[in-house]
Structures are given as structure tokens and as C-alpha cells.
Symmetry: C2
Subunit: 411 residues, 2 copies
Amino acid sequence: MRFEAMWKDLAPLGRAAHGGYFRQPFTAVDHELRHWFRTAAEDRSMTVEEDDFGNLVAWWGGVATAERPGLLTGSHLDSVLDGGAYDGPLGVVSAFAAVDLLQARGVVPIRPLGVAAFAEEEGSRFGVACLGSRLATGAWSWEEARKLRDRDGVWLRDAMASVLAHPGGTDADHLTRRDPHERRRAWVARVAAYVELHVEQGRDLVERGAAVGLGSGIWPHGRYRFDFTGQANHAGTTRMEDRHDPMLTYAMTALAANKQARLGGHRATFGRIEVAPNGTNAVPSRVTAWLDARAATTPALQELVATVSDQAEQRAGRDGTALVVTPESVSAEVTFDAALTELAGEGHRWPVIPTAAGHDAGVVAQAGVPTAMLFVRNPTGISHSPDERAETEDCLAGVEALADVLERLLR
Amino acid sequence: MRFEAMWKDLAPLGRAAHGGYFRQPFTAVDHELRHWFRTAAEDRSMTVEEDDFGNLVAWWGGVATAERPGLLTGSHLDSVLDGGAYDGPLGVVSAFAAVDLLQARGVVPIRPLGVAAFAEEEGSRFGVACLGSRLATGAWSWEEARKLRDRDGVWLRDAMASVLAHPGGTDADHLTRRDPHERRRAWVARVAAYVELHVEQGRDLVERGAAVGLGSGIWPHGRYRFDFTGQANHAGTTRMEDRHDPMLTYAMTALAANKQARLGGHRATFGRIEVAPNGTNAVPSRVTAWLDARAATTPALQELVATVSDQAEQRAGRDGTALVVTPESVSAEVTFDAALTELAGEGHRWPVIPTAAGHDAGVVAQAGVPTAMLFVRNPTGISHSPDERAETEDCLAGVEALADVLERLLR
């Protein structure tokens, strides 16, 4: 089957020697990923559209217009730092494979069908998750995005310029498209519905013995930057009682976040940290750490972040350090389209499960497009890790399921 | 006075816009520092010697030999990352200024007087403090040093090759000098005594109302790498109870180290940390952090490190993570030469104070050379920080004191 051939071609791109993936956007690897995407589209005589933010769509049955809206499927090709092979690419490869199946079944599309690969879904380079879909649907303005830099200080626009002809749009575009609401209206008018297939990132499907499931919605979640500042000093000669060490305030905050999440059944993670000057024999002057927080409801999320921030503030008072908390990207709760999800699941025994992971599907749903998600079983539940897995048999069941859903919507 | 002119010339080298210093060894800035050193030596008709490890000595009154051993003074020019102007350079500039004073006083050296600038004293690039003096005196073998890499993976030898003709020595040298004991004997034979002047890195002199003080000795201290390993996973979808998060083990360890140091009157600092993959939405797979620990006695230091390691191990058991602790450089207690220190202080009311900071003077003392230290008052006690300060008046008192000590030893 062509699924396996595509998967094999894609597998080596951005893979480190130990097996982890580094597929950051607008890099040399991203060039290779885009080349792979264009080849897959050409093999199926699909027309590729690349927007000014790096999002790709390969169209079958004509390019969608506001007059003839299309059906969209797909996911993303980028990975977290040292990620797995499935998160993102499984949805893109399955989408192309579903087109193959539909063509084999003799389906003639009554409307355009697009396979999408959204840019920087993980936010692993510029810190904003679903950056490509947010820009395309106007959930982020280009004026905000212009201020983004990666860890090395590279501006988003400069990074984009390495793969795009008009990063952020031409000046002429700006005149007509600088208003995010306008951009959203233009994007939504061309998309009748969006269906995203994704590897599951937990073990609900394992526990329910199903290869495939449908998504009910996405937990509200956010990223919050915690800037702890203190006083750099000599690690040997400075008495413990004379210090203003922001590392201590951070350490207590990381433990407090974990405890609050455990108590409330939420999720809280400090996975990224930057220390200045980060020298062995110096008390740090600054620790910046990012809290990834998620909860079942928006009030619960707000309470979680407020409690952690309060406890951090109190500790900062004792340490003689200062703290500023900045929300970097916060996503409201998403409920997928009930009618679309019901239509998709009709006649199948697919469990309907929520997820605490963000997806482009959430952004597209919030833009006002009827959206559904399909999940494929993950035997260990591990994701964002080189150990992420899905059985080929389950992947093929996912392709079949996606083709079934798309066929219903195309007829 | 020439002290101030030298200080002014040196001040801009390696200084960042916000005022902090980045004077890492074997870099472009190091080239400039060496050029400054050679110019200062030429201005005084001193002969510069650069050894195969990057240590510089400018000789007045001839180059020392085993037959005609010299008197050595000086310090280092490198800084910690984002350090201050005084730690190191004050000793080198004061040494040249003391030569000026001695010449003005009409002192004719009965033996060679050398002004030294040791390489990589801070260990800010290759992780080993006092690397230059340790290599020169055989406290580290070149075979060990060859294995050192900086944060970017650059080998020590390759970095050295950018400034030195024969990094680590020529092959011919290796035949005669590969034995560290042999190297120590050769080095020590040429040095009759060493006197290092340094900015104080605490507030003892402030509290005792003295501009200048003498050193009694150096606390034993060490750097220990803590490698915490866990299981990378998705920050959103992984239930808190399913995680093996090494960040939590680290956070508890950082707090425990602080508490143990406070309880015992020791010093313990986690100032440097590296996280993999260091992504906002991933539970880390690995956290590596460096403990800088110091105590008044070697048994107290050993107990401090053992207690922190034990508490970290226990927490690792609860977190389902693993811990390996590796000592990277451990320095024994140093007591400076009592007779030399007494001779230096005769007729002055200089307080005699201990320090918890490592210095090349400690390495030289341990090699068997009679060694003394002079400290110059630091109004805030802050060091290893852009806020490090010394009043010019106190610096000039330091130069005078150093010249007095050297004159006694030269007559």
C-alpha cells in the first residue's frame, strides 16, 4: 500500500541518530519536508497552494474558492524538539493515502478535497503553538507575529524568507489582508469542513480496545512564561543568607505546579528553562521557565495558573527575587462539531474521547469551520518523545476510517 | 597613574552592552586580552613567555630559570559568563602597576619578577576551574584535558590552536613532559614564591574597615554534575501520575542543596542547567545540573555532597527517574604559606581572611610553591556579576601593598 511507501520516504527526514525527530519550521529539514509534500501531491495530480505563512494545501478536484468551498483534511509535518514520528505526519500521510483509496473506490469529488500541512503546529521554534493555522485564520495578526524570535534571536519573517516568496504577505496583500477578521472570513469561506486524523497521545483507545476513535473536544490550555529575576553573585563567597537566587524560586514553583495539577486532575509542566548566565560558579541573575498548563474547563485552568503564580510570588518574597508571569498563548476550550462527528461515526463503534493536546483542528474549529477529529491508537500512550508509536495495522485502519468519513462528505 | 590608564584600555574588551563581561578563553576577545597584555609588557621592556596551555608571564629582570628562580605575581584575565571587571584583571593590572612603582622606587631586582595571566581560571568554557595553572603545574594531565569540550562541542585543543602555536605541547615536548609530575617539578623549580592580588568576593574587609587584607587559605570546593534522566512525554496528554519527570527531581534537589548549605554554614549552588529536549510542551527526558559546593573542611564538604546526593536519590525513586552524580573538579583545602604571609603583613594592619573562592594561588600553593594572597575591598561584596565593584582609591592602596610585598621579596 502506498501509505507504507510514503511513510518510508518521510521517515529519515529530520531524524537524529538516536531516533528522535527535529523537524523545526523554516529550516533545512523543513525544505525537505515541503519537497516530500509536493512530490506526494504531484504523484496524485493535486495542485499545491502555499500561503504567505508557510501552510501547504494539496487540492484534488480543483482548488477551493469562496464560490466552491472545499473539504479539508491533514495535519502538520513539524515536530517538537526530539519528538516522535507520528504526531502530525500521521495525519498528512493518512490524508494522501485516503485520497488514493477514494480514487480506487471511484469516488468523483463533488467539491475540492484539500490535504493540508500547517506550519509550526508545535510552536517548538517560535513559541506559539498552531502558529500557521492561527495566522491563516486570523487568530494571530501578522503584526503580533512579526515580534516573534526563535531561541537564537532569528525573527520569524527572516526564517520564513528562507522558504517563502512573500513571508507575511506582500505589501499589496497587507492593504487588503492586514485585518485578521478579514483574513478569517476569506479563509473560512473556502473551507466547508475540516477533518484531522492524529495519533492518540494517551491510552484511552488502548483501554477501550479500539484502533480508531473520534474527538469530542480539546481542553483549554496555555503557555505562560515565568521570568524570575534575582542578583548574580559568586557561588563560593556569597553567604547563603545574602543571596537573591531565582533558581530557588523557580525550583519551588516547578514543584508547586506539579502538586496543584495532581490535586486537581489537571496538567502542569515546566519543560523548558533558560538560565542567565548559566555558569557553574555564579548565582543566576535570571531564570526564565515556561509553564504548560491544561484543565478540563477554562475556570479550572485559570485557577490552576493563579494558584501556581500566587505560590511563586510568595516564595519570591522570601527569596528576595522578582517574578513576572506572561501568558504567551492561551487556547479556549474547543468542542468539535456535533453533527459532523455524528455523521462521521455513523455505523462505526468508534469511542468518542476528549484530548488535552492542542491541534490545528482546534484553531480551525474556533474560526467557525465545522471540524471533527479522528484518533489512531498509541500502544504506550507516549508522545512528544522518540518512543511515540502506532502499529501499522492501526494506521491502515485510520486511513480506511478517514476515507470513509471523507467519502460521506464528498458524495 | 598608569594603573588607571591600563584599566581604561582593558575595560571595553569583552564587555556586553549592559556592562557584563564575557571574556572566555581562546576566543576573539581572548586574542584582544593577550594583545593588551603583550603591550603592557612591551611598555615596561618585559619579556613575554606563553606556555603551551595559554598561560602568559611577562618577566622583568630576566626570564626565570631553574638556576635563577623568579618571583611570580599576577592573576587571570578571563571572566565568568556575564561577570564583572575586577575578578582576575585587578590582579594583573595591579601587578604591572606594582612593577611601575618598584621601578620608580629604584628597586633593582635581584631575581626575575614575573607578571602572570593564567588561562581559563573560571572554567567558564571548559568546565574545569584554574585549568591553565592546573595544566602548567601538572595538577591536570594533558591526556585528561584533551577530553574536554565546550558547550558547543569544541575540543580544548582546537580552541587553543586559535591562539597557541603548540596547544598541549609539541610531540617532542610530550616525550619529556607528558608526565605531570615532571611538569610540576620543572614549573616549581623556576618559581621561588607567588603572590596573587584579588578583589574580595565577600564583605569581610568592609566589616573590618580595611582597604587591603591578606588571605589565610581557601575552602575546599568542588563541581559535581547531576544527570537526572526520565521519560520524555507529551505535556498535555500524559497524566501526572504516569510521568517520570526529571525536572521535579532536579527542583527538589536544588532546594535540598540550599537547605543543607544554610543549615551547615556551607555554600551550595545550582547555577547551571541543561534540559533535553527543553521544549515547552514536552516532559523532559533529561536534566543535567551542576552543583557548586564549598565548606570550611574537606569532611564537611564530603558530607554536604553526600547528603544532597542521598536526598536526590530518594526523590528520584519517588519520581521514577534516575540520577548519576559525577565530580568534575574537586579542590582540597589550601592554607597559604604562613612565613610568607607574615613577612608580607609585617608592619601593616591588614586583616587575614579565608575565602571560599578558588584561585590560581590555591593551585600554585598545592604544587609546593610558597604562596600568599592580597585582597582588595569590595564595597558590596558582589562578584561574578556585572555589579562587581572596587573603589579606585582601594585599588591604588592594593597596588601599593603589592609593591611593598614584592619589594621585600626582591631585596
